[in-house]
């Protein structure tokens, strides 16, 4: 079993389940569309009749954008609040769908059918949500620790104390990679905790988290290599996007449409990458863990299902 195999498997399984890929993309697109709709109305009302918006496509957009943001500062506050609201809704829906995706991956790989995509989404929402909250706290703590460390190296950027800004910049050469290493490791741990939670199907998260931690420590090399491969893919995708996006002239409707579609392709790949990463991790998880022994049997599941949803089944 190799990491490359898992990587390839991740993409293969994503392709096999492309309707779900489309679903995740549609969610992202649909929610972003709500802000786009109000922005269209705002620009249509306040700027569409001004030549400055037309000029901004061929010359520097700075005069137009600076004028717009200052003349309509309060209107733009609305977009800010709307964006935060949309992000929050997207965050919750993403948690919901990811539970379904993980359950679907598990069922597909093990052949043990339980609740399907939508049932899994509902069943694992609260657990995935709690996991997201715990790991957000851990990520936050990590960020806080590194910011404090950076600030102490930079002596809080005090003019009185810091000798040179290069003291800080040079420290960034090791500080930033170190932070990324830790942050990525926590994300990795988070992913395997999610997978383990779905396989174990326990209401309490302590054991899945502890067990997935052990797993991550034990197979850190493989897990991290897979993660690094996915991150490298993401970096490559973004670089290619940037290079091509900057060369698309946006002065005509065709150019604007092309630029928009190119942006959608990037989004599609980013979303695919996230799902493929989970699929590959799921594959790797099954390769290294005793998931089969630990997983509830079909009978057990049916029993538990009946316990909860159909208590009269046994009597019958």
């Amino acid at each position: 079993m190799s990491v490359l195999q898992a990587y390839g498997m991740g993409w293969r399984r994503l392709w096999q389940n492309r309707p779900y890929w489309g679903l995740f993309f549609a969610l992202n697109f649909g929610l972003a569309l709500t802000t786009a709709a109000s922005l269209t109305a705002f620009l249509g009302k306040n700027a569409a009749h001004s030549l400055s918006i037309s000029d901004s496509l061929t010359a520097s957009p700075y005069p137009f954008l600076s004028a717009l943001t200052s003349q309509f500062a309060s209107d733009l506050d609305f977009f800010q609040y709307q964006s935060v609201g949309v992000a929050l809704v997207f965050f919750l829906l993403q948690i919901w769908l990811l539970g379904g995706w993980l359950n679907h991956l598990r069922e597909e790989a093990t052949g043990v059918a339980r609740w399907g995509f939508w049932g899994g989404a509902a069943r694992y929402f609260w657990r995935t949500f709690r996991l997201a909250a715990y790991f957000a706290v851990i990520q936050g703590a990590l960020l806080w620790a590194f910011v404090k460390l950076g600030a102490s190296i930079a002596k809080d950027f005090s003019i009185l104390e810091l000798w040179s800004e290069f003291d800080f910049l040079h420290a960034l050469w090791w500080l930033l990679p170190l932070y990324l290493l830790f942050s990525v490791s926590i994300s990795l741990w988070h992913d395997y905790a999610k997978i383990h939670t779905v396989y174990r199907d326990r209401a309490w998260l302590t054991r899945p988290v502890v067990e997935s931690t052990r797993l991550c420590f034990k197979y850190f090399g493989r897990f991290f290599s897979l993660y690094a491969l996915n991150l490298f893919t993401l970096a490559a995708v973004c670089a290619i996007y940037g290079m091509i996006a900057n060369s698309i002239p946006a002065h005509s409707m065709a150019g604007i449409v092309l630029l928009f579609l190119w942006g959608q392709l990037l989004l599609l790949l980013r979303i695919g990458l996230k799902l493929a990463n989970l699929a590959a991790a799921d594959y790797l998880y099954r390769q290294v863990s005793d998931w089969n022994a630990a997983a509830p049997t079909t009978e057990g599941i049916t029993q538990r299902y009946n316990d909860v949803f159909n208590p009269k089944a046994e009597a019958l």
Partner: protein, 663 residues
């Protein structure tokens, strides 16, 4: 015969004496009047953070008045205690300053020990502190000394000072931190005696303001011979040129001479490295800590461009050297200042290469060599005269410089921002454009007003002035102003007089009898400018209908469309307005409007309706604070809207996808 011979000898001796005096002060062919001349010896005590100095002032009374007392700036006393006007004006000190000032050792001050005239008479017994600006009796930044003997018109005087100064730590412009020293406004400096007719003086008067938080300096030109003693391992950079270096035990004495300058500043540190470059007869000397040495070439390139630009436009830079000092991070308090032949710049290692703010700052400080050093206007009373012109030139020169390189002052990730637009945005949007009149003294500006108005608004209305009178006339104004007032003390009135003179010659009555109507608005009021195209309408030109109609056979009657365009003056400022109307058949027509009424309608009767109306199509008027409403198109530009919506949507999608990295 004997008497004749005696007279001849006496005449010869007199001539020789006159020649000697002339040579000593260099008055005969000197470019400046050389009124205030200083010989200074100062020792930097790095252990005690003290300056111990002796200075000799040679002052010439070029006025027609008899001088009986003299005021001196003691700038360092602004840091003597929390009651000084400067620290009171600071209102709320930045934390690092207020924190340090809690410790006695961090204050700065200057004590005059002796002041003696040529006759050996001590003058310090007859002194008083003046507070001409705010009557804050605790302020000790201006001292007035009575002369033992009145100084007659045309006479010269020598005063000998001994003094001690405690260098403030990390303070405004001047001070020390760690072992970096930037020493400015550090010696007893005489005020300016304004004869009747100089600037606004109706009778002879001293001009010597307290040291304020906002506002800078005003001084006469002269010769400075300065000997600076520092520890042997210290490198020194200063105004003028180094004429001698001498090691004395563990110390080193640097001797500098600067001719026809109005001030003297210097820096010292054991870590300063020197790079040099040459432009024509001017040596460029860049002093920085090693980690900023890479900026040297960038500064040299832009400063050579500036030197050439001003030589072509105004006149040559008259000094043999320009010293550029880049303070280290812990010396940032000294950054972004101008002194004669010495400027301080600033850059940060984390700025991307496409951001040219460091070069722009260097250009800005260099421009000050012309506007307030060579043309020594009063920065304290009329800050716009130097900061406005400097801001004007900064945008003009930098935008042209980077345009030559197919770049801009900010050129990052495909976005280019020009300095002129940055300055306009700062004036129109980031501050309050109506916060104060432009003719206030520096210390009288309310919070933030000094920067927004004396720098940005002045720069913007000078651009607008250029828009109205044209680049050739503007260049003639600036050249005349420079040539007429080089080494002089002009005021706003003098600048305006030159504008009116040149505009009258170049444009006759086209812009009115004079441009006072313009200066009255931009200088003396808080009025802002905003013209707006509020309506564009096209209607089918229907034939007359109804009872008893009269048949109209005019050309207009036969046209297909009647169009109406409404222009409004939203703000108070009244400026001539040019409006460009574009019709659907591509025809373009321009109309002029005096811009006085609150609203004006334009009617057209054509076969094609008006597609767009645009105020100020060539963007000559940078004073207009709302650029969006300067034009109106009959048909909205949906393509551009879709472009921005599309970009924002992709950006929003990216943000959403980034947020869920936490899921």
């Amino acid at each position: 015969m004997k008497a004749k011979k005696r007279i001849s000898v006496l005449l010869a001796v007199a001539c020789l004496l006159l020649a000697t005096v002339g040579l000593a002060t260099g008055q005969s062919s000197a470019p400046s009047p050389r009124i205030a001349n200083y010989d200074v010896e100062v020792t930097l005590d790095v252990a005690e953070k003290m300056l111990r100095g002796r200075s000799q002032l040679h002052w010439r009374n070029t006025s027609t008045d008899t001088i009986r007392r003299m005021p001196f700036h003691l700038y360092y006393n602004a840091f003597k205690n929390s009651q000084s006007s400067l620290l009171r004006e600071w209102y709320k000190l930045p934390p690092y300053f207020s924190q340090q000032l809690q410790y006695d050792g961090e204050w700065g001050w200057i004590d005059l020990l002796t002041v003696v005239d040529e006759g050996g008479r001590s003058l310090l017994d007859q002194h008083r502190y003046l507070q001409p600006d705010d009557q804050n009796t605790a302020d000790r930044t201006v001292i007035e000394i009575d002369l033992a003997e009145a100084l007659l018109p045309g006479d010269s005087l020598r005063l000998d000072f001994t003094w001690e100064a405690r260098i403030p730590r990390s303070m405004l412009r001047s001070g020390y931190n760690k072992d970096f020293y930037f020493i400015a406004q550090w010696y007893p400096k005489i005020g300016v005696y304004e004869s009747p007719g100089t600037r606004y003086a109706e009778r002879g008067q001293w001009n010597c303001h307290q040291y304020h938080l906002k506002g800078e300096f005003y001084a006469d030109h002269g010769i400075y011979n300065v000997a600076i003693t520092v520890p042997q391992d210290y490198q020194v950079g200063a105004t003028g040129i180094a004429v001698d270096e001498q090691v004395l035990g563990s110390s080193k004495v640097y001797r500098f001479r600067a001719e026809d300058v109005s001030d003297f500043a210097w820096t010292a540190s054991p870590h300063l490295q020197v790079q040099e470059a040459q432009w024509a007869d001017v040596r460029l000397r860049y002093l920085s800590y090693p980690d900023h040495a890479y900026m040297g070439e960038r500064y040299f390139a832009v400063l050579k461009y500036c030197l050439q630009y001003f030589e072509d436009l105004l006149g040559p830079y008259p000094y043999p050297q320009l010293t550029i000092v880049e303070p280290p991070f812990h010396g940032l308090f000294a950054m972004a200042m101008e002194y004669p032949t010495l400027i301080t710049v600033g850059s940060f290692g984390f700025l991307p290469r496409g951001i040219h703010t460091a070069e722009t700052l260097a250009a800005h400080e260099f421009i000050h060599q012309y506007f307030m050093h060579l043309i020594a206007s009063n920065e304290t009373e009329e800050p716009w005269l130097d900061e406005g012109l400097t801001t004007y030139f900064e945008a003009r020169m930098m935008d042209e410089y980077y345009a030559q390189q197919n770049s801009a002052v900010i050129d990052l990730l495909g976005v280019r921002v020009h300095q002129k637009d940055l300055n306009w945005n700062t004036y129109a949007h980031l501050g309050n454009p109506k916060i104060a009149e432009n003719d206030r003294a520096a210390w009288e500006y309310p919070n933030g007003g000094y920067e927004y108005i004396s720098y940005k608004k002045s720069g913007v209305w000078l651009w607008t002035l250029e828009g109205f009178i044209g680049r050739p006339s503007m260049d003639r104004v600036l050249k005349t102003y420079f040539q007429r007032w080089r080494f002089g003390h002009p005021c706003a009135r003098d600048f305006i007089a030159i504008v009116n003179e040149v505009v009258r010659e170049d444009h006759g009555d086209r812009l009115g009898e004079n441009l006072n109507w313009y200066f009255d608005q931009v200088l003396h009021t808080t009025a802002a400018c905003d013209y707006k195209v509020s309506y564009v309408g096209n209607f089918l030109n229907l034939p007359p209908m109804g009872k008893d109609v009269v048949v109209d056979s005019s050309a207009e009657a036969g046209s297909r469309y009647l169009s109406k365009v409404v222009i409004q003056r939203v703000e108070e400022m009244q400026l001539p307005v040019e409006i460009e109307f574009t019709f659907f058949d591509g025809h373009v027509e321009r109309r002029q409007w005096d811009g006085r009424a609150r609203s004006v309608n334009f009617f057209f009767s054509r076969d094609y309706g008006v597609r767009s109306a645009e105020i100020d199509p060539e963007r000559k008027n940078y004073l207009d604070i709302n650029y969006l409403n300067n034009s109106y198109t009959y048909v909205p530009d949906r393509v551009a809207v879709r472009y921005y919506v599309g970009r924002c949507m992709v950006w929003m999608q990216q943000v959403l996808q980034t947020v869920v990295a936490l899921v």
